[in-house]
Amino acid sequence: EDKVVQSPLSLVVHEGDTVTLNCSYEVTNFRSLLWYKQEKKAPTFLFMLTSSGIEKKSGRLSSILDKKELFSILNITATQTGDSAVYLCAGVNDMRFGAGTRLTVKP
């Protein structure tokens, strides 16, 4: 059965810290891996990763995929309180989501 596992489940850091969130997957007919940020309501799209070893970057956030080892990481540098959220990853073929990592950034 396909599965996506995220770690850690929760994380508390202080502003300015750098964090790394992990996502491992076992997905049949894998096509891509997606990262989302969820605050109060709808998850918002962050990154879509299809190729191994190519870093995607958006401001202080970056992500990379390792298709050989079947995992992805999401890095956030110089964290801010506005980064507090649940971060979700999903393995596609069938959009199977992990349980999420709840990140809390303290001032």
Binding site: S32, K41, A42, F45, M48, L88, R96, F97
Partner: protein
């Protein structure tokens, strides 16, 4: 640009009552449509997805059903709600399953009493 509408935002229903949640997408045609449920503090569980009118795939056997009467309309229903149906329900669309990211509606928070 494409938008997705989901309503209502919150709903409180008694056990045994019926349910109908609606989701519509604007600005695109033939979208892939999805219903998810998110229990408190948990990830998203895929309930149903649809690649076209009248085409529904169910991921988990349950008390719920889905229908797609029009190209950009996706409805989640139940004839008799259970306490375990409580949760946060999200509708999403994508242009191409797997090759394009999903975009989510704002969700419906359903409480069963």
């Amino acid at each position: 640009s494409q938008t997705i509408h989901q309503w209502p935002a919150t709903l409180v229903q008694p056990v045994g009552s019926p349910l109908s949640l609606e989701c519509t997408v604007e600005g695109t045609s033939n979208p892939n449509l999805y219903w998810y449920r998110q229990a408190a503090g948990r990830g998203l569980q895929l309930l149903f997805y649809s690649v076209g009118i009248g085409q529904i795939s169910s991921e988990v056997p349950q008390n719920l059903s889905a229908s797609r009467p029009q190209d950009r309309q996706f409805i989640l229903s139940s004839k008799k709600l259970l306490l375990s149906d409580s949760g946060f329900y999200l509708c999403a669309w994508s242009a191409d399953r797997g090759a394009q990211p999903q975009h989510f509606g704002d969700g419906t928070r359903l409480s069963i009493l």
